[in-house]
């Protein structure tokens, strides 16, 4: 059938069969899901709108008119089981830095250097009292986030509930508190007012939509620190060659498992027949039929467009529609002339640089962003990706990749708005890298609304993550696939916390395989 299908390729009304599983979207999770399905022996086809997936994107990035990668620039929570199962090290992933130190900058031009080995980061604090307080904070948060890891990675089941109920009363109470309290509450209980508190607050609310004074906002840090990079909890890593290399490795893993990857193939609709996913229809005409469809787009696109309201239960549609983001992160790539001479700055180029605005300004920024306004008090995370990229190290320009948060989420940002955001990010940068603006050769702004330009961390993933409790609820709702049989979801909403992870793709594939096996193979 496949051979015949291929023979009539291009015929508009073609119906292709013989496929076991279809994955829509080559995001990291889409690739992970496809690889798992194919490795389990399912004939798997992956459709992607974009022409390129993974490495070609990066190659393009440093030449021509692009100056960076439309993607995550760091890895915080790469799912260890995905790395292991899909043999990502064999497929080209290696870490140029696996415990990147962070330097926090503040409004008063002071800086705070925190070791990339966060668990022991309190050693860097000079003041004894503060170091002791920070140690307690780290111990408690690490304990809580390790405990909650199954919950955040989507692996929590009845066992986890049992573990929770048998946890010591002190731990259980602390978990309860940390899951529902505000950042301000928790921080105030451990750390005195000052830079460390400001830095940890920025760390917690970066890329989330809950302001630090709002209930349930602290859990953001638990989710973030429950992850690990190359075996190190709460670390932050840079893959050799940039994050796109991970996507590329996932692509290779998928290809090695015989996933049929079809780029430049836009899916128009997910076909639902007799309450089951039956395949997809393509933008260019034609259908591909399969009993399993895994969707890796964002929830609104997958359910409201690809499935469509005519086939969605009403309350489910309401829940999906409620996922409309209000705030977002923006990424700004800068190509800089010249190179810094002083030792400190050169050293910092191999670190993660974070500007942590004063708490008042940060609170105001969240409030403004929700009103659709851009403010100055942005959290800024910057890295120099070239430093970690052997291939790009000799480039005559320095690339700086900057992520800024919180900003308004616009469906269709006007030119003025883009300029406003660009200016705000640059003014934030200037606060710790004075006169950097003068060195800008070229720059490029990527907003959450930008069409998913590349197969990698799609821009829609720049939408701010809701509070963790809400994320958990939404992830479970999405995982139900709207009760459509054979439809599995691994879009950004199925992941707890921002950034590249892969667990959602693994979970979607696992769920699909369980049902597939139970049904006795191909129907």
């Amino acid at each position: 059938m496949t051979a015949e299908g291929a023979a009539v390729a291009g015929a508009p009304s073609r119906i292709e069969g013989g496929v076991d599983a279809i994955v829509v979207g080559a995001s990291a999770d889409g690739l992970v899901a496809a690889a798992y399905l194919a490795r389990a022996g399912l004939k798997t086809v992956l459709f992607e709108n974009a022409a390129d997936i993974g490495l070609p994107v990066r190659r393009r990035a440093y030449g021509g008119d692009k100056h960076g990668v439309d993607a995550e620039h760091l890895v915080f929570t790469l799912d260890p089981q995905v790395i292991d199962d899909l043999e990502l090290y064999r497929h080209g992933v290696s870490f140029a830095a696996r415990r990147l130190d962070t330097v926090y900058f503040f409004d008063d031009h002071e800086a705070l250097h925190v070791s990339g080995d966060v668990r022991n980061a309190a050693n860097d604090i000079d003041d004894d009292d503060e170091a002791a307080a920070f140690t307690t904070f780290l111990e408690d948060v690490f304990e809580a986030s390790s405990f909650l890891r199954p919950l955040f990675s989507g692996a929590a089941g009845r066992d986890f509930k049992k573990a929770f109920n048998t946890a010591s009363p002190a731990l259980a109470r602390r978990l309860n508190w940390m899951m529902t309290a505000s950042v301000d509450d928790v921080m105030a209980s451990y750390l005195s007012e000052g830079r460390l508190r400001t830095a940890m607050t920025a760390e917690t609310v970066f890329r989330t939509s809950s302001a630090p004074h709002e209930a349930m906002s602290f859990a953001g840090l638990l989710a973030k620190w429950s992850g690990e990079v190359a075996g190190l909890q709460a670390a932050c890593g840079v893959p050799e060659g940039g994050v796109t290399v991970v996507i590329d490795a996932l692509r290779r893993a998928a290809q090695a498992a015989n996933v049929d990857i079809r780029a430049s193939s836009a899916v128009r609709q997910i076909l639902i027949e007799k309450d089951r996913a039956a395949g997809v229809s393509m933008e260019g005409g034609g259908q591909v039929r399969a009993p399993i469809v895994v969707a890796a787009g964002d929830a609104r696109q997958v359910f409201l467009s690809l499935v469509g309201p005519g086939a969605l239960d009403v309350a489910f549609q309401q829940d999906v529609a409620a996922m409309t983001p209000k705030t977002a992160t923006a990424q700004l790539h800068l190509a800089l002339r010249g190179s810094p001479r002083d030792e400190e700055t050169r050293a910092n180029m191999a670190r993660r640089l974070v500007f942590a605005p004063p708490l008042e300004a940060l609170r105001a920024s969240f409030s403004n962003a929700r009103q659709g306004e851009v403010s100055d008090g942005l959290i800024i995370e910057a890295i120099f990706p070239q430093v970690f990229d052997q291939e790009a190290v000799n480039s005559k320009m320095q690339i700086l990749s900057v992520m800024a948060h919180p900003l308004p989420f616009d469906e269709n940002p006007e030119k003025d708005r883009q300029e406003e955001i660009r200016t705000a990010i640059l003014s934030g940068l200037e606060k710790f890298a004075p006169s950097i603006s003068k060195r800008i050769e070229a720059d490029q702004l990527v907003l959450a609304s930008d069409a998913p330009a590349v197969g990698d961390g799609r821009a829609s993933a720049f939408a701010a993550r809701p509070g963790v409790v809400r994320q958990l609820a939404l992830a479970s709702l999405c995982a139900s696939g709207g009760r459509i049989g054979g439809l599995y979801f691994c879009g950004p909403e199925s992941q707890i916390g921002a950034g590249l992870n892969g667990a959602a793709g693994r979970n979607a594939a696992r769920a699909a395989l369980q049902k597939f096996t139970r049904a006795g193979g191909a129907p």
Partner: protein, 442 residues
């Protein structure tokens, strides 16, 4: 005084006293601690006393009777107003001609929100052990509706409301009355939790009827009769004692063993010296102001209804802007102001949209006399914009700002069995239910 109590109730407002009486009547030894009061102005209305509380305290034995407020009214910009009544049906009937869509949807909204009440209470359970009740649904195979509820309640009030009503005066009316209690802007994550209790029957406010004894006087009497011990003071430290109790001190050397510590509202907690920060629905850096106007001669009530509760707001943007101002330590330009008539010659106005601490060029600072004067002018402006000729009729005006204290550090990790009730519209009903739950907790 005894050296050990079952219950410490911090604060002596009506919900606290009722909670204390309920605890004492259930056989718990109960201590009320409240600081010596500075000057206070209280609005004449309080949350309704539901039948089960009435029965528990036998209020009929105390020459006590209640008169529910007649309506909630919002005075919007340009002479537009919106109102709602105690029953959804009456509200719908009134809306029928102006806004038939809202007339059909508002009763459904309030019904559906009330149905979320139990879930909202779980999320607010500050003393739960084991799987957080709010999260338990994530492990249960109970269909998707519980997840859907959790998602709604962890979202913003505005989003939930907008999903039912498409803007318009009714929307502003509901937002203002629901959110102004805690000075919220409506965009805060989790602010949707305000709705289930707002639509609770016990959230409708009431006043003591003519000829009735004042509520506070009766409550003090009932507490005394029930053996509640009352002490002036403030909690200065809480530390664990044994496996289940706390040792509480009050700024002197004396330590008292307490099994359960109960705050009927974040305000009473703050007043007692405990951080209200952990309570949901508490606006960060929020304080409140109450303004009393004594009038030379009576003034006409808007809509001719002196027994309603009024809110002044130009639109929901006022809520957000004022909340934002308070958050950043500024006085709001147009804070939502709630007011009630007290007899013919007095008006009590209230706003919760002011900062706890103010921020200017030199940084954060406490309230000054000048700030108070300025806020009084701002509130007077708001009132004058809706009440004709108010300025000329005011004989005397006084304002009281209620701010909260700095939180005690790290109490959470140390204390046991702390029951903290968030700011609630149905504060009296909820306080008694929370006391009951605390008594069951072991």
């Amino acid at each position: 005084m005894a050296s050990a109590f079952d219950f410490l109730i911090a604060g002596d407002d009506a919900p606290s006293l009722i909670a204390a009486a309920a605890a004492a009547r259930a056989g718990a030894s109960t201590l009320i601690v409240a600081p010596k009061k500075n000057k206070q102005i209280a609005p004449p209305s309080f949350p309704d006393i539901p039948n089960f509380v009435w029965r528990r305290l036998n209020l009929q034995d105390h020459n006590f009777s209640l008169q529910p407020v007649s309506a909630r009214i919002t005075l919007l910009d340009d002479g537009v107003s919106a109102q709602s009544f105690r029953t959804d049906r009456e509200t719908a009937e009134t809306l029928q001609y102006d806004d038939p869509d809202a007339a059909a949807l508002l009763p459904v909204f309030s019904d559906e929100m009330r149905a979320l009440g139990a879930s909202a209470d779980k999320i607010n359970d500050s003393n739960a052990e084991g799987v957080p009740a709010a999260l338990a649904v994530l492990f249960d195979d109970d269909g998707l509706s519980d997840l859907s509820d959790l998602s709604k309640l962890s979202g913003a009030a505005n989003e939930v409301l907008d999903d039912y009503l498409n803007g318009g005066p009714v929307s502003s009316h509901i937002s203002t009355h629901a959110l102004s209690l805690a000075g919220l802007g409506g965009e805060e994550a989790g602010s949707a939790q305000i709705f289930p209790e707002f639509f609770d029957d016990a959230a409708w406010r009431a006043r003591t009827a003519k000829g009735s004894q004042p509520l506070m006087k009766i409550l003090h009497k009932i507490c005394a009769e029930s053996g509640v011990v009352m002490q002036e003071g403030m909690v200065s430290d809480i530390s664990p004692e044994g496996a289940k109790a706390n040792s509480v001190s009050f700024g002197n050397d004396e330590k008292i063993r307490i099994n359960r510590i109960f705050f009927a509202s974040p305000d009473s907690a703050a007043e007692a010296g405990y951080s209200p920060g952990a309570a949901r629905q508490t606006a960060f850096n929020g304080a409140s102001a109450t303004l009393r106007l004594r009038l030379r001669k009576p003034i006409a009530a808007p809509a001719g209804d002196k027994s309603a509760i009024f809110q002044i707001v130009d639109g929901t943007c006022d809520l957000r802007a004022s909340r934002h101002a308070a958050l950043t330590g500024k006085l709001p330009e147009k804070p939502p102001v709630q007011f009630e008539f007290v007899g013919d010659n007095e008006i009590v106005a209230h706003t919760a949209y002011i900062p706890n601490k103010l921020c200017d060029e030199e940084g954060w600072r406490a309230w000054t006399g000048q700030d108070r004067q300025l806020l009084m002018r701002i509130m007077m402006d708001r009132l004058s914009s809706r009440l004709d000729d108010l300025g000329a009729k005011v004989r005397k005006q006084e304002i009281v700002i209620q701010t909260t204290r700095e939180p005690m550090r790290d109490v959470y990790a140390r204390a046991r069995n702390i029951y903290m009730q968030s700011k609630r519209h149905n504060a009296i009903a909820a306080a008694v239910k929370l006391v009951d739950r605390a008594l069951n907790d072991g």
